[in-house]
Amino acid sequence: MTVIAADEVAQQKAGGPGHDIPPQKAIEGRTPLQLAWARLKKDRVSIACLIVIIVLVLVAIFANQLTSLIGHPPNEQYRDKGLAPNGLPVGPGGFFLLGGDDVGRDILSRIIHGTRVSLLVGVVATALAVLIGVSVGTMAGYFGGRVDTVLSRTMDVFLSFPFLLFAISLVSVFSPSVRISIFVIAFFTWANVGRIVRGQVLSIREKEYVEAARSLGAGDFRIMVVDVLPNLVAPILVYSTLLIPTAIVFEATLSFLGLGVPIPTPTWGNMISESQGTYLQAPGFLIFPSLALFITTLAFNLLGDGLRDALDPRAARVLARK
């Protein structure tokens, strides 16, 4: 056998002709996530949404400090100044910055405190749903066969529940609370995550690197964690971002129906519900909590879209060509 390309090998040992990085400099490959972040930074809409979300998180964390700055605790009823002489809520700009509600509470303070519940339920319910969905979906896709049949049918069953009917009956059995809201929302969304993950795992498990890991003697658990999961980060990240606003809207829906967080704790959903009697006279009472809900949902959804483009540049290019 003749050695044809010994000089090529030598070049590779020396760092290769194509690399102009001096060898003494530490060579650190950028992770796919770092590359995605670089792409995301160029997308102005996504960055704007990210800023909105960061502000929302800060508002939720410092809700007490903010309301004490305003001077109106969320549950304090200012019956003399916060209500018009005819008993209707006062409009924005007077005693309250965004007006008052039908019992003389500050809408701004209540929206600020409502952020807490919305984000808490949105994030925790999504995290729970993703945790269950990823575990079940990975196992179904990886093991296949009977395991897959059982788990997939279970997911089908969960997806075929009429959400609202079941949520109403479940909540009325367990009496409303934040915990129950989170549980109910996670209960009805994890199967969506599970399905998406299963589909991805089905294609990943046929890859040669999974076979390579198996030929090295790696166990199923190791293959799932080390070889399969890292390839699921992108879809999971995108789907979680899109799931959070859904969960927030679910929570608002439950609160609107009086099945979410019990009053007087302010949530956007129960504020919208309370405004139903007086919104013709005091439109701000309805508009501002709805706006908060709208902005939050929009920010998460647009960020999710931006993330998907950043994590999968090929898909973004296909869309741009259309």
Binding site: G16, R30, T31, P32, T149, E211, A212, S215, G217
Partner: protein, 378 residues
């Protein structure tokens, strides 16, 4: 490549001397069931991927395995590597029976049998750094960790001709040839005795193929490795192998030392394959006789009776339909050179002039498949 004395690199006992049988495959059969139904699955048919293969691999040699796409080469490789359970048959490695061992008992043998995969893009996890990919074998077998693992990974990268500084990079930052080197380094990590190369160069450029083949050759000399080298490129196989087995539809058709088999191919199928190898001289290429086979490779779901090659063989007779010939030496060939054919090709016979003694009209158009695509590996 010549057989070399097996040297102990991992400090383990070596029971095998060069030339001894390291791996023995007896009557290997693998069927894949085809299932239908959503909840209650029913087996409707079977793909007969490997149907009765006997093979032995000697320590220090390179055994070439050739055949058309879908003839069961890769399945056989995966059976030996223990990636698929066998339907029936027996595999003996280094004196121990490793047939269908459970995962835990198979683990020690995994260190001795490693695999290099065909697709340098698919066989490396794109989300992991090269250092951790090559370090995987150490991690899985708990051999070395921390700084020690990093040192050994960098040594391996050096051995296969990669820049050890690059251990922090991702596979996407390497070229196809470099990726294949990463795959080689991973296979080499545990100092295996046997490396199964499943078409290691067919996804690479011709110039890069030479580099990788030279690398494999150097490593064999350095570490006393035994290779099973699968390829559909006949010239590559001739170049690297000591002995060659020709497979067709899950069976071995001809098996022998590389010079005997290429010099005096006895099986009509081997003749057809070899006649499709392109000749670099245009004058000779014009004058030589090409053996053009009729039709396509039959489906392995429903393989032909008797000799599986009979529907396309120019020398087929009635007995070929009824009986699979045994794999044995013919004429005055050395006992090493074995062929499974009722009518082996004597020296000087031009089989493109032969006419079959059976009706082959069901096997497709007379123009037939051109094997040159197979022979050049494109």
């Amino acid at each position: 490549m010549t057989a070399q004395q097996a040297v102990d690199h991992a400090g383990r006992d070596i029971n095998t001397q060069a030339g001894d049988v390291l791996l023995k495959v007896e009557g290997a059969v693998k069927n894949f069931p085809i299932k239908q139904g959503i909840i209650f699955q029913k087996e409707v048919a079977r793909v007969h991927a490997v149907s009765g293969v006997d093979l032995e691999v000697r320590s220090g040699e390179t055994l070439g395995l050739v055949g058309e796409t879908g003839c069961g080469k890769s399945t056989l490789a995966r059976l030996i590597a223990g990636l698929y359970p066998m339907t029936s048959g027996r595999i003996t490695f280094d004196g121990s029976d490793i047939t269908n061992l459970p995962r835990k008992k198979m683990r020690p043998f995994r260190r001795d049998i490693q695999m290099i995969f065909q697709d340098p893009y698919g066989s490396l996890n794109p989300r992991r750094r090269v250092g951790s990919i090559i370090g995987d074998p150490f991690d899985i077998h708990g051999v070395a960790d921390g700084a020690e693992r990093k040192k050994r990974v960098q040594e391996l990268m050096e051995v296969v001709g990669l820049n050890p500084e690059h251990f922090n990079r991702f596979p996407a930052e390497f070229s196809g040839g470099q990726r294949q080197r990463i795959g080689v380094a991973r296979a080499l990590a545990l100092r295996p005795k046997l490396i199964i190369c499943d078409e290691p160069v067919s996804a690479l450029d011709v110039s890069i193929q030479a580099q990788v083949i030279n690398l494999l050759d150097d490593l064999q000399n350095e570490f006393g490795l035994t290779y099973i080298f699968i390829a559909h490129d006949l010239s590559v196989v001739r170049h690297v192998s000591d002995r060659v087995a020709v497979m067709y539809l899950g069976k071995i058709m001809e098996f022998g030392p590389v010079d005997d088999l290429y010099g005096l191919p006895r099986h009509p199928y081997t003749n057809a394959l070899l006649s499709a190898v392109p000749v670099p001289d245009p004058d000779r290429a014009d004058t030589r006789e090409r053996v053009i086979l009729r039709g396509d490779v039959p489906s392995p779901v429903n393989p032909p009776s008797g000799c599986p090659f009979h529907p396309r063989c120019p020398k087929a007779q009635d007995i070929c339909v009824e009986q699979m010939p045994p794999l044995e030496p013919v004429f005055d060939d050395p006992p090493e050179h074995r062929v499974a054919c009722h009518f082996p090709v004597p020296e000087g016979e031009d089989i493109s002039q032969c006419t079959p003694g059976i009706d082959q009209s069901g096997t497709g158009p007379l123009v037939g498949a051109d094997l040159s695509a197979v022979a050049t590996g494109s």
